[in-house]
Symmetry: C2
Subunit: 316 residues, 2 copies
């Protein structure tokens, strides 16, 4: 099996000032993940590395750069899933850690559980020796300004909420194993303790070697109502291509509950799709040593991985 990775940097309306950073960030993440796959690494390691790269990138709403809750704090959700055995790990409402996706992986590998939340997740992180990152270090100037604007009496938080920036990755490795990972800071000015789709298996992501893997982004509550990730895989189990499965599920979410979003998908033959019902979604894919990426509907740029790596080392 030829390895494939697809990543997204969030569906919504990407503000102009974030566009270039978002393009660069998804390309970098896809190249990092693909590097692991090319060396014979697992899909699980590849999606974790791709998501970690975007958590560390302040252009995205995950890890550093996360939006703030009503109290002005960063609270994050993340999930990772292994398509081989349907095992999965997730964390919800975690604070003061740089990489929620790494903590989610530890939940999967070091506990008998699949989801740890808030205070308990914090204690688990300490027990695992994960260094505490001061909350301030995860907050960008942009996040803080947006939070303040949302508190003004004539604010329009809905407008900001369209610029979501959840990140995710799906991959298939040379052994035919699929995996997915998703990480987010959630909604701007959300209630303390709000958990969205990302931490909920089947909503924020799902991976099954028998069909494929998917990671979702968009309006979390709508994604949860239709259990979007699992829905896409059902469509593929019934014979649909990744693209048709993604479009069918996104159409259903729009007509049934009025929600918009985006998804990345890979099936167990290595076919992939990056589809969205929002205005934009930043995405990048590497397959057959070719990098594809885009941000607007219908936009697709292609270059070789070697060329892309050369531009990256050139100061990207």
């Amino acid at each position: 099996m030829k390895p494939v990775i697809v990543v997204h940097g969030g569906a919504g309306r990407i503000f102009k000032e974030r566009e270039q950073g978002s393009r660069d960030g998804v390309i970098r993440a896809a190249l990092r993940g693909y590097g692991i796959l090319k060396q014979g690494g697992s899909a699980l390691d590849a999606v974790e590395e791709a998501v970690r790269s975007m958590e560390d990138d302040p252009h995205f709403n995950a890890g550093c750069g996360s939006v703030l809750n009503e109290a002005g704090e960063v609270e994050m959700d993340a999930i990772i899933m292994d398509g081989k055995n349907l095992d999965s790990g997730a964390v919800s409402a975690v604070k003061c850690i740089a990489n929620p996706i790494k903590l989610a992986r530890l939940v999967m590998e070091k506990t008998k559980h699949m989801l740890l939340t808030d205070h308990g997740a914090h204690m688990f992180a300490q027990a695992m020796g994960i260094p505490e990152t001061p909350g301030e270090k995860l907050i960008t100037e942009r996040s803080r300004e947006r939070w303040k604007k949302n508190l003004e009496p004539d604010s329009n938080p809905e407008e900001f909420q369209k610029d979501l920036g959840t990140v995710g990755a799906v991959a298939i490795d040379s052994e035919g194993n699929v995996a997915c990972a998703t990480s987010t800071g959630g909604l701007s000015n959300k209630l303390i303790g709000r958990v969205g789709d990302t931490a909920c298996i089947g909503s924020g992501g799902y991976a099954d070697n028998h069909s494929g893997a998917t990671s979702t982004t968009g309006h979390g509550e709508s994604i949860m109502k239709v259990v979007l990730a699992r829905l896409i895989l059902y469509h593929m189990e019934q014979g649909m291509s990744p693209e048709m499965a993604a479009d069918t599920a996104l159409d259903y979410m729009k007509t049934r509950v009025g929600g918009l979003g985006g998804v990345i998908v890979v099936n167990c033959s290595g076919e992939w799709a990056a589809r969205f019902s929002t205005k934009q979604m930043s995405w990048a894919t590497v397959k057959d040593d070719q990098l594809h990426h885009g941000i607007y509907a219908g936009e697709r740029h292609t270059k070789s991985v070697d060329e892309a790596l050369a531009s990256e080392s050139g100061g990207f």
Copy 2:
């Protein structure tokens, strides 16, 4: 549409000392919920009332009677879902409240979110004026003894964990609306902050007027791996009866991930099922003014609602 309610008091191995209490508790819950439906009440109100009744009953692992986490505390998860618009509310890792199912309903009706966790859920409960119940009041002698035994060096927590006792209800009302509700104290001696299937939409429950409603119980992590509740409704969307959909999904969970559990199901025609792959599951149904209930595979007792209500008022 003739109203129907189905309730469960948990799948697993029901210990002898809990058997009669568990039988009585599911019957009482089903009668309470049916009372609401007969007066023209909604499926949502009926499932909430049935689950509340079992949360207040110390025979079940939900509300008062919940098992304890590793720190000897009660931490509970609950979800409620409205099949009309796929709206849903849930709470995870909540402490010191008597009825998590009522808080889940408030999340659905009073916020833009669908899941609140731990500290944030606690603050929301306070804001909603829900009285704080001292943690001690939710702990039964039985829960405390079990917790202590599990801490002994030669303990066998797995054995106790089979006696799960999660509670749930599904209903269809006279207008053809379906709903589900599930509530649990989770696993004995679980890590602090462990969230199971109950709080995750599609795993612990799902309701859709187009197909039906289901509530699940059993090994939470296995239920999450297969997103069990949504899986059952997919099978019904493809034409299976509630019984066949339940059995097919439970078989899949057993063969794919080695997990056991139980489910209650009602479809949009009012057909119902209560099925389990564990040794036992306490369940009760009311349809056409007839009460059915059982606890072992193949066991089914039937009597009229009038007769059942007379025994109940006689000291039940």
